[in-house]
C-alpha cells in the first residue's frame, strides 16, 4: 500500500539521477558520507501481490545503525534475491523477517514489516507463532543431532503432533519437495549428520518447508557448498518457485540472476535498486548497480 504511493515518486527521481550519469557524487559516495538516498524501485513491482511488506525498516546494533529506512515488497510466489557487498545488511534484513535478531542483545528496530497484513515488529506479537509461519535455511547446513525423519518433522513435533501417519506423510512430502526423497528414503532413521553437505542443506530446506511456510527465508544457502551441490540447490529453488514465496540472500551474482525473479541491491544498509532480475542485470537504472553486477566493485 505504501509502496504504491511512493513508488512512482522514487522512480522519477531515479530516472533523473540515472540521466545525469556524470554527476559528481554518485549514491554510494553519498551513503558513505552519511547522506540519505532514495531507492530506485522498478514499476513492475507495483503489479505484484505482496506476501511481505517492508515499511521504513531501520535497525541499530547498539549505537550503530545497520539498516536505513528500507521500503520494499516481497512478491507472493516468487523468488526474491538480496544482493550487495559484505556488511550491506542483507542478512540482517532477512533475519528481521522472523525476528531472529531478537536473540542478539542491544538490537533496536524501527518501522514495521507485515506478513500477509500481520505486523511482525509489534511488541505484542507472539514471536513463536510468527516463526511457525515461515521457514528459514542458514548459511551452514544445521541438521539436528537426530534421524533424518525426526529432522524433517521437527516443526510438527514441537507442535505436539504424534500421529505417525501424519508425520510420515509430511516427511515424504517435504523430502520430495526438497528433492531428497529418492536419496534418503531407505535410511530415514539414520542420523541426519551422516549426510553430505549438499544433502544436509536440502534436508534443512525440507525441514523449512515441512510446516508449509508462508515465506521461505534462505540465508546464503549455498555459500558452504561445492558447485555440484550448489547446482542441486538452485534447481530445487527453481522447482519451489510458485509454491512458496522465497527470499534469498546471496553473495553470488550469477546465482541471483539464475534463480530469482526479483533482485534487490543493497549497500551499507540502504536499498539502492530493486526490480525484476532480468532488467536489474541487463538494464539497470543506476550506474552503481551496473558497476556492482558487472563485478567492478564489491
Amino acid at each position: 500500500m505504501i509502496s504504491n504511493t511512493e513508488q512512482p515518486q522514487s522512480s522519477t527521481t531515479a530516472t533523473a539521477v540515472a540521466q545525469s550519469g556524470d554527476a559528481k557524487l554518485n549514491r554510494l559516495e553519498m551513503i558513505t558520507r552519511g547522506e540519505h538516498v532514495d531507492a530506485v524501485i522498478h514499476a513492475e513491482l507495483a503489479k505484484c501481490a505482496s506476501v511481505l511488506d517492508v515499511n521504513d525498516v531501520s535497525l541499530w546494533y547498539g549505537d550503530k545503525q545497520a539498516l536505513f529506512d528500507i521500503n520494499m515488497i516481497i512478491p507472493d510466489g516468487h523468488v526474491t534475491a538480496l544482493i550487495g557487498p559484505s556488511g550491506c545488511g542483507k542478512s540482517t534484513l532477512l533475519r528481521c523477517v522472523n525476528r531472529m535478531n531478537d536473540l542478539i542483545d542491544n538490537v533496536r528496530l524501527g518501522g514495521d514489516m507485515r506478513l500477509n497484513g500481520d505486523s511482525i515488529f509489534s511488541p505484542h506479537i507472539d514471536v513463536i507463532a510468527l516463526r511457525k509461519r515461515m521457514g528459514m535455511v542458514f548459511q551452514k547446513p544445521n541438521p539436528f543431532p537426530m534421524s533424518i525423519f525426526e529432522n524433517v518433522v521437527y516443526p510438527l513435533r514441537i507442535d505436539g503432533e504424534r500421529d505417525r501417519n501424519v508425520l510420515e506423510e509430511v516427511c515424504e512430502r517435504a523430502l520430495r519437495g526438497a528433492a531428497l526423497w529418492n536419496e534418503v528414503k531407505d535410511r530415514l532413521h539414520e542420523s541426519g549428520l551422516g549426510l553430505s553437505g549438499g544433502q544436509q542443506q536440502r534436508l534443512c530446506i525440507a525441514r523449512a518447508i515441512a510446516s508449509d511456510p508462508e515465506v521461505l527465508l534462505l540465508d546464503e544457502p549455498c555459500s558452504a557448498l561445492d558447485p555440484i551441490a550448489t547446482g542441486k540447490i538452485e534447481d530445487l529453488i527453481d522447482e519451489l518457485r510458485g509454491d512458496y514465496s522465497i527470499l534469498i540472500v546471496t553473495h553470488n551474482m550469477q546465482q541471483a540472476s539464475r534463480v530469482s525473479d526479483f533482485t534487490a541491491f543493497m549497500y551499507l544498509g540502504h536499498l539502492i535498486e530493486y526490480g525484476p532480475t532480468v532488467s536489474l542485470f541487463t538494464n539497470p537504472k543506476l550506474k552503481e548497480t551496473e558497476d556492482y553486477v558487472m563485478g567492478r566493485f564489491g
Partner: protein, 737 residues
C-alpha cells in the same frame, strides 16, 4: 574507473611514508623459538607426573595383589634357644652398634662381639693410618667434656657434697681439662696405637674396658677432698675418667649392617603376642627350616594359629593321629562343620533378625502409646498387657530359633583338631572355628592358587572379622557403591538445572559472573567443611525436624532416626561437594552446542525450552556425563566428610537389605532401603584399618588390598560411565536418535 572511495587506500598511502622496520631476531631468542627447550620442559613435566602416579599405582597393585598369596611357614631357632614358627612378614635393615650389646643373651653377645670388634679395629686403624686419631678426639671435645662432668656429678661422693662444693668441682674439672687436654690426647693416642696391633680388635676393647673399670673405681672410691685435689693436680684419676669417655666417643662410628625380620607367630591366647622380630645374627647356624607339616589355621576369632597337627578328634576321641591322615580327613569334616556354622549364622541373622525387628516394632508401638496418652492412661495399660502377651509368645518363638542354632552348634562341637605349637603346648581348636587351614610348606602351585582365590573371595564377599583386620569388606564395598549412586542421583539433576539456568536463561552480567565465581570457589572448599556443614545442616537441622515430625516418640525414648549421620545425609553432603564439578562441566557442554543448532530450532518456531529439551540437552549429554563421571570419582574417594555424616567402623546391617523390608521405622515407607542407617565405606575403612586398628601391624596388608579395591571400584564406575557416554554420543550424534 570506479568512483567508489576505498577507505583502505588512504591508510596505505599514509603508512607508506613511515620508515620501514626490518624484522630481526635477537640472539638467544632463536633457541626458545625453535621450541627445543620447551619440548624438554613440557615432556619432562609429563614424565614426572606420570612416574609419580604410575609408581604409586604399581606399588599399591603389587602389595595388594601379593598379600593373599600363601607364604611358607618358617621355623627359626635362635642362639639363645628360642624357637619360633611363623610367616616372614616384614623386613628391616638397621645398623648394629656397641650400644645394642646391652640386654643381649650371653651367646648373642659373643656373636655380636665377633662382628663389632673387628669393625672397631678397622675404624681405629683407619684413623691411625691417616694420622688423624688426635684430630678425631679433639673434634669430640665438647661431647667428652660434657660426659666427664656428668660422670663426676653422678659419683656418689660428689652427690653427697654441698651444692657449692659441687659447683666448684665442675669448674675445676673444666679448668683442669682445658690445661691438660693436649697431654691427655697424646697419652690416649699412645695407648690406642699400642693396642691396635690386634686385628680382631679384642685388645682395643680390653683397653677400653680397663679404662672404664678404672674410671668407675676412681669415681666410686675417692672422697670429695681427695677428688678435688686429684683434679687440681691433674693426676691419674682425671685421666682415667677422661680416657673412658674418649674410648666411648671413639666407638660411636662403629656399626655393622644388619637385617631383621618380623615373623607372624600369632597363637595369641598362648603367647600373648602376634609378631616377633628376629635379627639375622640371633639365628643359629642352619637354624632356619621349613617343617613339612607346619600348619596355618585362620580362625574366626583369636587370630592365626601356627602349629603341627596332633589329633583329629570326634567327640573327644582321636580318630586320626598321623599328620598326613589328619590332613586327608580334614577337608571333608571341615567343610561340613563350616556349612553348619554358616547355616546357624544365617538362621541367626535372617530369622533372628526378623524376630528382633518385630519385637522392636512392638516395643516402639508401646512407646508411641505412652508418648501420646501418657503412661498412666488406660490405653497404655492395654498396650502394655498386649506387649506382655506377645512377649510370652515371642519367648517361645525365640527359644525355637535358638534351639535350632544350638543344635547345629552342638553338632559342630563334636569335631575338633588338636594342635601342638612350636613351644610344645597343646591347643584344641573346634573345626567350626577354623576359616581356612593349610600345611603351607606342602602346597603345590595349584593349591596355593586355590587358597589365594578363596582369600580374595572372602575379602570381596564376606563380613569383616577380628576388628576388621581379617575377613572381608563386602559391607564397605556395598556402602561405597550405594552411596556413590545415591549421590549421583542427587547431584546430576540439580547440577544440570543450575547450569541450564546460568547458561541458557540468565542474562550475562555481574550477578551471573559472581554466581559462577562462587561455584568455582565452592570446588576449592576443603571437604571437611562440607562434612561439618552436612552434620550441622542435614543431621541436626533437617534430620532432627524429620524426627520431630515423624518419630517423636522414638526420638524421645530411644534416640534419633534421621537426626544423626546416615547414608542419606552422607550422599547429600557429597552431592553438595561435587555439585560444582557437575555445574562447570555441564556449562561447558552447553556452551559447546553450536549456535546454529539453537537458531535452526528457534527458526522452526520452537520455544526456548523445546530447543533446550530437544536439541541442546541431547547434544550436551556426553559432556554432562563427563561431569558426572568426575563427580562420582571425586565422591567415591572422599573420606573426611563421611567421618562426620555417617561412615562407621562396623555397620551391623546393610543399608539395602532384601531380608528387611521394614523401611525406616514408622511412617516413611522406603522398603528394603534404609537411608537413615550408618554405613561402611572403603575409604573410611582404609583410614580405620591403617590408623585405628588394635593390631595395626596385622591390618597392614588389608590396607593395601582395600586401597587396591577402592581404586578398582572407582575405575570400574568410571569405565562404566565412559562406556555409557560413548553409547550416548553415538546415539545422539552419529546414528539413530
Amino acid at each position: 574507473m570506479s568512483q567508489v572511495v576505498d577507505p583502505s587506500a588512504t591508510v596505505e598511502a599514509e603508512s607508506a611514508k613511515l620508515p620501514r622496520v626490518r624484522r630481526r631476531v635477537r640472539p638467544g631468542a632463536s633457541v626458545i623459538a625453535q621450541g627445543e627447550p620447551m619440548l624438554w620442559l613440557t615432556g619432562g613435566g609429563l614424565v614426572i607426573c606420570f612416574l609419580m602416579i604410575v609408581t604409586l599405582l604399581l606399588y599399591v597393585l603389587w602389595q595388594g595383589v601379593t598379600t593373599f598369596w600363601p607364604q611358607p611357614i618358617v621355623q627359626v631357632e635362635t642362639i639363645d634357644g628360642r624357637v619360633l614358627l611363623g610367616e616372614a612378614f616384614a623386613y628391616d635393615a638397621y645398623e648394629l652398634k656397641f650400644s645394642n650389646l646391652a640386654g643381649q643373651s650371653e651367646a648373642a653377645r659373643e656373636k655380636l662381639q665377633k662382628m663389632l670388634h673387628p669393625a672397631f679395629h678397622a675404624v681405629v686403624q683407619r684413623e691411625l693410618d691417616a694420622g688423624t686419631l688426635s684430630d678425631r678426639v679433639n673434634s669430640n671435645r665438647p661431647m667428652i667434656l660434657k660426659a666427664v662432668i656428668t660422670q663426676v656429678r653422678l659419683a656418689p661422693t660428689v652427690q653427697q657434697a654441698a651444692p657449692e662444693t659441687r659447683a666448684a668441682i665442675v669448674s675445676q674439672i673444666e679448668a683442669t681439662l682445658d690445661s691438660k687436654w693436649d697431654a691427655f690426647v697424646t697419652r690416649f693416642a699412645g695407648e690406642v696405637s699400642a693396642n691396635a696391633g690386634n686385628e680382631s680388635g679384642d685388645a682395643l676393647v680390653a683397653a677400653w674396658n680397663a679404662a672404664a673399670a678404672e674410671s668407675e673405681a676412681t669415681l666410686g672410691e675417692l672422697d670429695v677432698d681427695a677428688f678435688r685435689k686429684q683434679f687440681t693436680d691433674g693426676g691419674a684419676a682425671v685421666y682415667s675418667v677422661w680416657a673412658s669417655e674418649a674410648w666411648s666417643s671413639l666407638t660411636l662410628p662403629v656399626a655393622v649392617p644388619m637385617r631383621r625380620r618380623e615373623f607372624r607367630t600369632e597363637n595369641f591366647e598362648l603367647t600373648s603376642e602376634h609378631f616377633n622380630w628376629v635379627s639375622d645374627f640371633e639365628i643359629r647356624p642352619d637354624g632356619e627350616s621349613f617343617p613339612e607339616w607346619a600348619m596355618l589355621l585362620e580362625r574366626v576369632e583369636g587370630g592365626r594359629f601356627y602349629g603341627f597337627p596332633m589329633e583329629l578328634r570326634i567327640d573327644g576321641e582321636a580318630v586320626e593321629t598321623e599328620s598326613a591322615a589328619i590332613w586327608a580327613a580334614f577337608p571333608r569334616l571341615h567343610s561340613e562343620c563350616r556349612e553348619r556354622w554358616l547355616e546357624g549364622k544365617e538362621i541367626d541373622e535372617i530369622e533372628g533378625g526378623a524376630f528382633n525387628r518385630r519385637r522392636e516394632h512392638e516395643r516402639l508401638a508401646l512407646i508411641e502409646t505412652g508418648y501420646h496418652y501418657g503412661k498412666e492412661s488406660e490405653e497404655y495399660r492395654t498396650a502394655q498387657a498386649a506387649l506382655d502377651e506377645s512377649e510370652r509368645a515371642n519367648a517361645a518363638e525365640y527359644a525355637e530359633i535358638r534351639s535350632r542354632i544350638d543344635e547345629l552348634a552342638q553338632l559342630n562341637s563334636r569335631y575338633s583338631l588338636l594342635m601342638r605349637t612350636i613351644g610344645d603346648q597343646q591347643q584344641e581348636i573346634p573345626l567350626a572355628e577354623i576359616v581356612r587351614a593349610c600345611p603351607a610348606n606342602r602346597l603345590q602351585t595349584g593349591e596355593k592358587c586355590g587358597i589365594y582365590l578363596s582369600r580374595w573371595r572372602e575379602f570381596l564377599f564376606d563380613n569383616p572379622r577380628e576388628a576388621n583386620s581379617e575377613g572381608g569388606v563386602y559391607p564397605a564395598i556395598f556402602g561405597t557403591v550405594v552411596m556413590t549412586l545415591l549421590m549421583s542421583i542427587a547431584v546430576v539433576p540439580f547440577g544440570v538445572l543450575a547450569a541450564l539456568y546460568l547458561r541458557e536463561y540468565a542474562r550475562a552480567g555481574f550477578v551471573v559472573s559472581a554466581v559462577r565465581i562462587a561455584i568455582n570457589n565452592l570446588a576449592g572448599v576443603p571437604s571437611i567443611v562440607f562434612g561439618v556443614f552436612g552434620v550441622g545442616f542435614f543431621c541436626y537441622m533437617v534430620g532432627a525436624s524429620i524426627d520431630e515430625l515423624f518419630y517423636p516418640a522414638k526420638t524421645a525414648n530411644v534416640g534419633p532416626t534421621f537426626g544423626t549421620g546416615g547414608l542419606f545425609w552422607a550422599s547429600l553432603t557429597l552431592a553438595l561437594l561435587t555439585l560444582p564439578v557437575v555445574i562447570v562441566a555441564t556449562e561447558e557442554a552447553l556452551s559447546a552446542v553450536p549456535r546454529s543448532m539453537r537458531e535452526g530450532s528457534l527458526a522452526c518456531g520452537a520455544t526456548k525450552w523445546q530447543t533446550i529439551r530437544r536439541i541442546v540437552l541431547p547434544r550436551a549429554l556426553p559432556g554432562i556425563m563427563t561431569g558426572t563421571i568426575l563427580a562420582m570419582a571425586r565422591g567415591a574417594g572422599e573420606v573426611a566428610p563421611l567421618m562426620l555424616v555417617g561412615a562407621v567402623k562396623l555397620a551391623p546391617h546393610l543399608v539395602f537389605d532384601l531380608h528387611d523390608w521394614s523401611g525406616s521405622f514408622g511412617p516413611l515407607p522406603t522398603g528394603a532401603l534404609h537411608p537413615e542407617r550408618s554405613f561402611m565405606h572403603l575409604g573410611f575403612h582404609i583410614f580405620d584399618l591403617g590408623f585405628h586398628s588394635q593390631n595395626s601391624e596385622a591390618a597392614k596388608p588389608m590396607v593395601y588390598t582395600t586401597t587396591l579395591l577402592l581404586i578398582g571400584i572407582i575405575a570400574v564406575m568410571n569405565v562404566a560411565a565412559i562406556w555409557l557416554r560413548a553409547q550416548l554420543r553415538k546415539k545422539f550424534q552419529f546414528s539413530q536418535f
